[in-house]
């Protein structure tokens, strides 16, 4: 899953979709993941970074990751 190319994100978690005018804010970890996604990292690479840097079980991360993608999809931010 890739984030749409034209989505603007900032380090403090602000997200702007210039196609629709929608804006969102995310928490710091969300902002970090978005920046990774924008830089072209794969889901696998991002999950590895998270497991390395945060105290989270792989199974929990998988559940959160699915939830995260659903939120991005609902917000019309993914290239499907």
């Amino acid at each position: 899953m890739k984030i749409k190319k034209n989505i603007a994100t900032s380090e403090n978690g602000f997200i702007f979709n210039p196609s629709t005018g929608d804006s969102f804010s995310s928490n710091p970890i969300g902002a970090e993941i978005l920046l990774f996604m924008k830089s072209g990292k794969t889901s696998l690479e991002i999950k590895e970074i998270i497991l390395e840097n945060y105290e989270v079980e792989p199974a929990q991360l998988e559940r959160d990751w699915e939830d995260w993608l659903l939120q991005l999809k609902d917000a019309n931010l993914l290239d499907l």
Partner: protein, 349 residues
């Protein structure tokens, strides 16, 4: 650096009120785009149009006759203003005054006053009562509607189109109604205020987007800027908005200009439904009140119009900044009662 161009340009719609006229936004864009040599002459209808008193924006204002007085008195008044000010160009910004301005545009040109306006035919095809037909002809989505002359037609129309229903005045204003009683009340109010017919339009739920566009009169869109309303007033006006990057909206603006060979500024009011379909709700035959955003985003539509009016070849803009936002604000401008007295008594200030 912007070279000063010593044009004298007359502008109407100085009513920067809660449902603002575009005049001040046009002036702001012109001052920014054409430099300091510009002299702006305000043309007003009422003594309390705020622009009259904003001397940093409007150098001098003259009162002009209401559109209902007809084209003759307007021409006469503009001849007087021209004698005093040596006007180079006039940009009218109200829907209701355009008919007269177009009618006298040849006379104005003879006097040396340029205009850059659509034709009467162009004005007519986008009128509310003709919009659905126009959409059908050019393959553009327009919500189904019915033209109503009598209140007792409402029951059948509501049965055809369903509730909620949008009841619209011939020129301005609209009400979303949910019952026959509400529809009848809206019909009475709107027909008294704006005359007959009244338009009943199928309600479309979605996101409100406006498109400001500028046509060269030959089918080319010089500029198309879409804006999503972020804050909407109780009169349905955008109090805040943001420019969008969406090729379907740009194409829609270009298609309209191409289909009509529109000359001048215009605004397409769009409703984007959940499926992403773009419905044209209305087409306004002049710049919108938020037109300064086009300049802020990199396509100064009013300045481009002036250049075309003076015969310059203007190439279509090819980029702008999406995510450029405006937030309108109210400001209590302080002036002296003598100024009010002067514009009220003498018709100029």
């Amino acid at each position: 650096m912007i070279e000063p161009i010593p044009y004298v340009i007359a502008i109407t719609a100085l009513n920067a009120i809660d449902s603002p006229g575009p005049g001040l936004a046009v002036i702001r864009a012109l001052r920014e785009g054409l430099g300091t040599g510009l002299r702006i002459i305000g043309l007003c209808y009422e003594s309390l149009e705020p622009g009259i008193y904003l001397h940093g924006q409007v150098d001098k204002t003259y009162q002009i006759p209401y559109p209902t007085a007809g084209a003759g008195p307007l021409l006469e008044r503009l001849q007087y203003v021209h004698e005093k000010e040596k006007l180079d160009l006039v940009i009218p910004n109200f829907d209701s005054e355009l008919y007269n301005f177009i009618k006298i545009s040849v006379d104005l040109n003879k006097l040396g006053i340029k205009t850059f306006l659509p034709s009467h035919k162009q004005l007519e095809i986008r009128e509310k009562i003709n919009l659905a037909k126009f959409g059908k002809k050019h393959n553009l989505l327009v919500p189904e509607d019915r033209i109503i002359f009598k209140a007792d037609e409402l029951e059948k129309v509501a049965a055809d189109l369903g509730y909620p229903l949008v009841v619209k005045g011939k020129y301005y204003e609209a009400s979303v109604v949910h019952t026959l009683e509400q529809a009848s009340k809206a019909f009475s109010l709107l027909s008294v205020k704006w005359g007959l017919p009244v338009i009943a339009q199928k309600f479309v739920k979605g996101t409100e987007i406006n498109i400001a566009a500028l046509g060269d009169g030959k089918g080319n869109a010089i500029s198309v800027i879409p804006m999503r309303k972020l804050y909407i007033t109780d009169k349905g006006k955008a109090w805040a908005g943001v420019t969008l990057e969406d090729n379907t909206l740009l194409d829609l603006g270009r298609d309209f200009i191409k289909a009509t060979h529109w000359k001048g500024g215009c605004e397409l009011e769009i409703m984007k439904d959940a499926a992403g379909k773009l419905f044209i709700m209305e087409i306004n035959p002049r710049f919108p009140a938020w037109v300064y955003l086009t300049a802020a985003a990199g396509q100064n539509q009013p300045a481009a119009l002036v250049k075309m009016a003076f015969g310059e070849l203007v190439e279509p803009f090819d980029s702008y900044q999406p995510g450029k936002m405006f937030v309108r604000y109210a400001w209590d401008h302080i002036t002296d009662i003598t100024e009010f007295q002067q514009i009220s008594a003498l018709g100029e200030l």
